[in-house]
């Protein structure tokens, strides 16, 4: 039972001052085992904050990140699943599912987590699953102003993943979940 937080596109301090208070109250240290961050934090203070939630922090570089040492893509294995991480501004057209599928096949991962569009999405195709946690602060994106703050928490338990989607809609936290299983062969 591994809890993995997927979060990103906070754009602090340029486009948003901080995480919404309701999100912050839920994100307490000690519960989450891994954090994967799509990028665009943008500053070190946010990095430190995320690190305080969980020491296992994985970040990829977004175009506005001030720390240039983050990698462009990252892959890691958690339990039975291979996860891939990429900010997504490199994949053109932005948010296009077929292109993301191409990236997923390149990285050879079961679950690809990308951001940049600031819209939550969970999409399945033959090569695997693509998850976009959206923007945790609700920062505006190059594509749209109308952004709901959201992030994703994945509960990886053996061959099964439960994805909990946390969205802040009209000031209230709404939680949904998505279930999927991995078949015992390499791809979903």
């Amino acid at each position: 039972m591994v809890l993995v937080l997927a979060i990103g596109d906070l754009h602090i301090p340029h486009r948003a001052p901080d995480l919404p208070a309701k999100f912050k109250s839920m994100l307490v240290p000690g519960k989450i085992q891994h954090i994967i961050c799509t990028g665009n934090l943008c500053i070190k203070e946010v990095h430190d904050y995320l690190k305080s939630l969980c020491p296992s922090l994985h970040i990829t570089r977004g175009e506005y990140d001030e720390d240039s040492r983050y990698p462009e893509t990252k892959t890691l294995t958690i339990g039975q699943f291979k996860l891939g991480l990429c900010h997504g501004h490199q994949v053109v057209p932005w948010g296009d599912l077929d292109s993301l599928a191409m990236l997923q096949r390149q990285l050879d991962v079961d679950i690809l987590v990308t951001g940049h569009t600031h819209q939550f999405k969970a999409y399945k195709h033959e090569a695997g699953v693509v998850i976009n946690p959206g923007s945790a602060t609700g920062a505006y994106s190059s594509i749209t102003y109308d952004v709901n703050p959201s992030f994703v928490l994945m509960d990886i338990d053996g061959l099964r993943v439960v994805v909990y989607v946390y969205e802040l809609i009209d000031g209230e936290v709404k939680v949904d979940k998505i279930d999927f299983k991995k078949t015992s062969t390499a791809t979903i």
Binding site: G30, K31, K124, D157, Y166, K177
Partner: protein, 486 residues
């Protein structure tokens, strides 16, 4: 019987023991100045009755011996040979030195052979194995009855239980009330309790993921299309009961789980540290990992079932001997289900002790402080000089040493086998666990009184906090003597 340390004032006949039975395996070496005639006559009688001839020959050179007056509870077992040893000081682990006969003894110098120890001398071996066999046969005989006489069992057990043949495991289960005394009820009781434990485990040890999964499986239809769909947005569904991992709700399964992780971490740490010198508990083998897991499970279930007391450091030490004894039962059925059996016996054991562990009750009448002061009073009653020296002169607060003695039932003061032997006595004494424990602690103090009287605060504290190893039978014998008389 009060024991005064004053020189030359004792005029009472010193009776060696009041309640030891003929199955007792003590060896008595007494050198006391004053002997009552009556005791002498009794001893002759005893010798004639109890000691077979071949043993009788070996002790012709000993000075007048006093053996315990025949106990009324002459059991039907064959007369156990009482080994009497010539008063040659055997290099004993005990600290009692034979005092010159002019000084009346606080406690009569008696040396016992601990049958479980076989520590000293070859002639002891023969006698101890003989004792062992007889004791074992007595116990087996008692255990083989259909309805077990608990009084008799307690009496036999208080002398010590031999190590072999799973006797200790069964006797402890009987003493702790886990097994009923009617053997026919055993199988149904055991089945009931074991399934109950299994239920507890399922209830308390599953993590929230599994719980929520079970929830969905039972309430909604499975989303069969998840695995088969080729492409498309994944459907979002509602979460059951507002349960999500970051939930802060009081009733949330996840929240409770995270709140419990603190305790579970603590339990984990303590379990890993339990008896690091024993392969049974610590080591790389699968068996020791399984044992540690069992300990962990028991402690977690107990903590969850008892929110008032949860887990307190030290409970693992109380659990370890129980589990060790039950797991090493040669009977396969018992050994496999040792975890469930240990859980219930642990509950029973702690039931008398719970108040010692609850911090809020520390200062109350039932708390640990009052227990410690009871020990102090007991010491004062039996050995005022020592009490005065400890409490007033050297100001050794009994809390410094007695706390660990009492809460951990002396598991930390002696090595593992010795503590098993002590537990035999503690569990079987009809006076009850706490009273017996206090008597044993008092005996521990009295046995080292010479060193204590000679020492200052630091020396005494050091001595009491790392209590030197002694002859356990002797210790228990002295403790027995401290039994108060109405």
């Amino acid at each position: 019987m009060t024991t005064q340390g004053r020189r030359g004032t004792s005029s009472q006949p010193v009776i060696v023991s009041e309640e030891q039975t003929n199955a007792h395996t003590d060896t008595y070496t007494v050198c006391i100045g004053t002997l009552a005639e009556k005791a002498d006559q009794e001893s002759e009688l005893m010798v004639k009755k109890r000691v077979p001839d071949w043993l009788n020959n070996s002790m012709l050179s000993s000075p007048p011996l006093i053996i315990s007056p025949p106990s009324k509870l002459q059991s039907q077992s064959p007369p156990a040979p009482t080994v009497i040893q010539p008063p040659v000081p055997i290099p004993p682990p005990t600290l009692i030195r034979p005092e010159p006969p002019t000084k009346p003894a606080v406690t009569p110098r008696t040396e016992f052979i601990d049958p479980l120890r076989r520590s000293s001398g070859s002639d002891n071996d023969i006698s101890s194995s003989v004792e062992d066999v007889s004791r074992q046969s007595n116990l087996l005989q008692e255990l083989s009855r259909r309805i077990i006489n608990m009084r008799e069992l307690r009496r036999l057990a208080s002398e010590g239980i031999p190590d072999g043949a799973g006797i200790r495991s069964t006797v402890w289960k009987l003493l702790l009330g886990y097994l009923p005394s009617d053997k026919l009820l055993w199988s149904s009781e055991l089945a009931k309790k074991r399934s109950q434990y299994k239920q507890f485990k399922e209830e308390f040890l599953t993590n929230p993921s599994e719980i929520t999964r079970k929830f969905e499986d039972s309430t909604s239809l499975q989303h069969g299309n998840n695995t088969s769909a080729g492409k498309g947005l994944l459907p979002r569904s509602d979460i059951p009961h507002g349960e999500h991992p970051l939930s802060l709700g009081e009733t949330s399964v996840w929240n409770q789980f995270f709140q419990d992780t603190e305790i579970i971490d603590q339990i984990d740490r303590d379990v890993k540290r339990t008896h690091p010198d024993m392969h049974f508990f610590c080591g790389d083998s699968a068996a020791s990992k399984a044992n540690q897991d069992a300990l962990r499970n028991i402690l977690i279930v107990y903590a969850k079932l008892n929110p008032g007391i949860r887990y307190v450091q030290g409970m693992n030490e109380l659990l370890a001997p129980l589990f060790y004894v039950f797991k090493n039962d040669p009977d396969e059925d018992f050994s496999e289900n040792a975890e469930a059996d240990t859980f219930f016996c642990f509950v029973e054991l702690l039931s008398g002790f719970r108040d010692n562990f609850v911090q809020q009750l520390d200062d109350s009448v039932v708390g640990i402080r009052s227990t410690i002061s009871k020990l102090s009073m007991l010491l004062k009653e039996h050995d005022e000089e020592l009490w005065r020296h400890l409490d007033i002169t050297t100001k050794v607060n009994p809390q410094f040493y007695a706390f660990r003695w009492i809460t951990l039932l002396l598991t930390q003061e002696f090595n593992f086998t010795d503590s098993l032997h002590i537990w035999d006595t503690l569990l079987s004494d009809p006076q009850g666990l706490q009273k017996t424990l206090l008597r044993v602690c008092c005996a521990m103090l009295i046995l080292v009184r010479r060193r204590l009287l000679a020492g200052d605060f630091t020396a005494n504290l050091k001595l009491l906090q790392s209590y030197p190893s002694t002859n356990i039978s002797h210790l228990l014998y002295v403790a027995n003597k401290l039994r108060s008389h109405p």
